[in-house]
């Protein structure tokens, strides 16, 4: 065997990432009679992030019942396998040899797989401390929620005794639960926003159980400690500073899609989501390459990712049947304080986005904002949202206006006032 020998195969559909999105799609395609649907995951177990979310609340929108993360993952694994999809774990897609030809590393060797359709379902992660440019020393005890959950739920590792949580969107509250399970105290939850960004009921329930202070309008200015973390320094918007003693800090939220494969294929990214720019049918700019799940909208809940998977089955089947690759070419962009919109490519005469609406995010609270959709100075839609929108939570914009857009005009822009 030479150092570079690869076995070369072809499949109909290669799905990269066996999270809710990839699994739900594979199940649909296999059930629809596609012969060779192969799903790869680099982790030793399939299931994606829900594997290590050991709390309830999964499955509401896609399965119409509520279960724990691990049960939810098992459900989707079983469904995909039962339908006839091939699931392979501990296998990493490392790059591209040609369009729709993926290089793979696994314990059985190097492979090269060419597929009629490649679906990227590689999920998203939280930006770590370094990416957020938080200064200070580099002590142990600095985590993201993903690492915390895996440490506690999958590996039963000891985490510190006293933790500060940075971020107050829903995943920060998951971090509280995980820390509780690990026997650690929450010294404070810190957000640079004026309020927390989860559902009031969840906030109250968590506060009742764990009784931690929520510090609003504050940023982390420094981490201190040699060896182990000793404190987190904060600065309040009004200039007050404080140091909170702790041996653990969890950076939560602040999402970035795992876009490595998308980007290394030269697929254009959307400047807002940082995931591949994709249309209402999950098509990227690269013929035959689709994208689904959190890679497109970092971060939505798991059931939304699974629904993406289901909805993408139609377009993938049409592609397999030979439909020409004509993704919606018209970009949809947002302007600050909006963060992203998904989908972010449209074809005015094409299908509406999933569930007839666009999903958006904001970077700060907006009270009943007025949204304007415009193209080349022409207003396509203008309307007030019925409620306050919060950062870290989705809100929606009806998609009726797309028929009025000019397919050959400039980008469509969504602004607030």
């Amino acid at each position: 065997m030479t150092p570079t020998d690869r076995t070369h195969r072809t499949v109909d559909v290669l799905v990269i990432g066996a999270g809710p999105a990839g699994l739900a799609l594979a199940a649909r395609l296999a059930a629809a009679g596609v012969d060779r649907v192969e799903v790869l995951d680099r982790e030793p177990q399939a299931g994606g992030v829900p594997r290590h979310c050991h709390h309830t609340g999964f499955g509401l929108r896609d399965l119409r019942r509520v279960m724990s993360g691990p049960d939810y993952a098992r459900h989707h694994i079983a469904a995909a396998t039962r339908a006839g999809a091939v699931l392979r774990t501990s296998v990493t897609a490392t790059g591209w040899a040609a369009p729709r030809t993926v290089d793979i590393t696994g314990p059985t060797g190097l492979e090269r797989i060419t597929a009629t359709a490649v679906v990227l379902a590689t999920g998203a992660r939280e930006r770590p401390r370094s990416a957020r440019l938080v200064p200070g020393t580099r002590p142990a005890g600095v985590l993201t929620t993903g690492q915390l959950q895996q440490a506690v739920h999958l590996h039963h590792q000891h985490v510190g005794r006293r933790a500060v949580i940075v971020g107050a969107e829903r995943v920060g509250y998951s971090a509280v639960a995980t820390l509780r399970r690990a026997g650690a105290e929450v010294a404070a939850m810190v957000t640079d926003q004026p309020r927390h960004q989860t559902h009031p009921a969840r906030h109250l329930a968590t506060r009742l159980r764990s009784g931690f202070p929520l510090v609003t309008d504050a940023t982390v200015t420094e981490l201190t400690g040699q060896g182990r973390l000793e404190s987190v320094r904060l600065r309040h918007r009004d200039g007050r500073t404080a140091a909170v003693a702790c041996d653990t800090v969890v950076f939560t939220g602040d999402w970035i899609p795992d876009h490595e494969l998308a980007r290394s294929a030269g697929i254009a990214l959307d400047p807002g989501t940082r995931g591949p720019a994709a249309d209402a049918e999950f098509r990227t700019g690269e013929p035959g390459v689709f994208a689904v799940g959190n890679l497109l909208h970092p971060v939505e809940t798991a059931d939304i990712a699974a629904l993406d998977g289901r909805l993408a089955a139609g377009p993938v089947l049409r592609h397999l049947a030979g439909r020409p690759w004509t993704p919606g070419a018209l970009p949809v962009r947002v302007e600050a304080p909006l963060l992203w919109v998904s989908p972010n490519r449209i074809a005015p005469d094409g299908p509406r986005p999933p569930r007839g609406r666009f999903t958006l995010r904001t970077t700060r609270f907006l009270t009943r904002p007025v949204l304007t959709v415009a193209q080349d100075g022409r207003t396509l839609h203008r309307g007030r949202l019925p409620r306050t929108v919060a950062p870290g939570r989705p809100f929606h914009l009806p998609a009726d206006w797309i028929v009025g857009a000019d397919a050959h005009g400039g980008p469509v822009r969504i602004t607030v006032d």
Binding site: T2, T92, G109
Partner: protein, 475 residues
């Protein structure tokens, strides 16, 4: 082969003891190990290369811009040759990219010819002066306004961690006793040998080498010397995501000013791009933290050099402390009466000069009465490939066929396999911490900083450490 991390030190009297297992101390240990000597290398922390040597800009300098005639100039030039050859032999990641000293104003442009002349006086005559067009042809993503550059084709990027580890591994395999977690305290110098107090008992040695980096002045004073005082000069750096690697293909240096070498943009051998360092004189030798001001000033400078770089994600931020002194040169002094050599003030070029410093120190020790005896061949070492210039294990069908652990990726961002982590954990000089494991394998060093693999890597580390503890308990 001995590496100890706990317990009493052996009672023997060593021929040579070296304090400090940075890139300099380990290079000296390796150099001396080419003779039949009883050598101890003592290090205060739990790993080799844990001081300044782990946090630099990782450039192998030609020495083109050194001050001609200084010891530093000679040792950097010699060290460059030696380490280039050693890297090829051992597999230390090294990429000869070449540097461009970019002139951003007329004054800097006017300084280029004299820099080229200075290079010649330093024995380096391969520089050339490029006009703006030639600069942009080589580096199309450079920010607007560059007027020209001095090209220094020999400047290279190297892996500082593998360098230190290769020296230490080879030294230990050749018989050097490496004692970690062993800070040297009070020193009593007798007629025949030194007695050095450590928390692990007394270390006895006939000859003593002080390679304690930032603390070399303090050790020096314990020997009755006061030639220099170390003032830590902090350098903060920002490491950008591997996606930035396509933006830059040379080491981009500023034209040096009175304030030092200035802020550079350079690829790393791991495929990232770094921006830095700052230069801040401090008085705290432990102040290796980054600061908001430091990071802001780097971003401001980076925005001028390469605006697109700033749009990329940041993978890591770190800071190192250079051992600056009141002198413009290395502070390497021998005291034959005390059988002592001080290797201090190894400022901002010590990685490059390490092998030449070691050879120089070996000579000084002979002048101090050490009889090294005949030279012998020592076993060559081959280091794991953690650089991107050669195929890594996850890309090698032959390795994976022989051992599937090399096909099992654990750290996804850096594509580090179970087999590589296992090898590092059972190596001659194993890591004492996850940090040390990161420097040996890159595991945990990537863009997610442990989001995906942190817990899995730690599990493998904990299991190996527990297994080692069991074996030690049985002994």
């Amino acid at each position: 082969m001995t590496v100890t991390t706990t317990g009493d030190l052996p009672g023997e009297v060593y021929d040579v003891a070296i304090i400090g297992a940075g890139v300099v101390g380990t290079a000296i240990a390796r150099e001396l190990a080419r003779h039949r000597l009883r050598i101890a290398l003592v290090e205060a922390s739990d790993d080799v290369g844990n001081g300044t040597s782990k946090a630099n800009t990782a450039i192998l300098h030609t020495g083109f811009d050194a001050t001609p005639g200084t010891l530093e100039a000679r040792l950097v030039r010699e060290g460059y040759q030696r380490l280039t050859a050693y890297a090829a032999e051992t597999g230390i990641p090294l990429e000869p990219l070449g540097a461009l000293l970019v002139a951003w104003d007329a004054e800097q442009l006017a300084a280029l010819p004299s820099l080229a002349e200075k290079a010649v006086r330093n024995g380096y005559d391969e520089t050339s002066i490029l006009d703006a067009d030639a600069v942009y042809a080589r580096e199309p993503h450079l920010g607007p306004g560059a007027l020209g550059a001095l090209e220094v084709p020999g400047e290279s990027i190297i892996c500082p961690w593998t360098t230190t580890l290769a020296y230490a591994t080879q030294a230990v395999r050749a018989g050097v006793a490496l004692h970690l977690n062993c800070p040297a305290g009070a020193i009593t110098t007798g007629e025949d040998h030194h007695e050095i107090a450590t928390p692990r008992g007394v270390l006895r040695t006939r000859h003593l080498v002080n390679a304690a980096g930032l603390y070399s002045d303090e050790i020096n004073r314990r020997l009755g010397h006061g030639e220099f005082t170390v003032t830590p000069r902090r350098g903060q750096l920002i490491v950008f995501d591997k996606f930035a690697r396509g933006l830059v293909d040379h080491i981009l240096l500023p034209v040096p000013t009175a304030l030092g070498k200035g802020v550079l943009v350079a690829p790393t051998v791991y495929g990232n791009v770094m921006l830095g360092p700052t230069a801040e004189d401090l008085d705290d030798k432990t102040a290796t933290g980054s600061s908001a001001d430091g990071l802001a000033s780097l971003r401001e400078k980076g925005a001028r050099i390469m605006p697109e770089l700033l749009a990329e994600e940041v993978t890591a931020v770190y800071a190192g402390l250079r051992a600056a002194t009141e002198h413009g040169d290395y502070q390497i002094h021998a005291d034959p009466g005390r059988r002592y050599v001080a290797v201090g003030g190894i400022r901002s070029t010590g990685l490059t000069a390490s092998m030449a410093i070691a050879a120089h120190v070996a000579e000084l020790l002979t002048e101090c009465g050490l009889d090294p005896g005949p030279e012998r061949e020592i076993e060559p070492v081959r280091m794991p490939t953690i650089g991107e210039a050669f195929p890594r294990p996850y890309q090698r069908a032959d390795l994976i066929a022989a051992d599937p652990a090399y096909g099992t990726v654990v750290c996804h961002c850096e594509r580090v396999t179970r087999g590589e982590i296992r090898d590092a954990l059972t190596a001659t000089v194993p890591p004492g911490s996850l940090e040390g494991l990161r420097r040996r394998t890159r595991a945990l060093g990537g863009r997610c900083q442990g989001f995906f693999c942190g817990a899995a890597v730690r599990a493998q580390f904990d299991a190996a450490t527990a297994a080692q503890d069991r074996t030690e308990a049985r002994r």
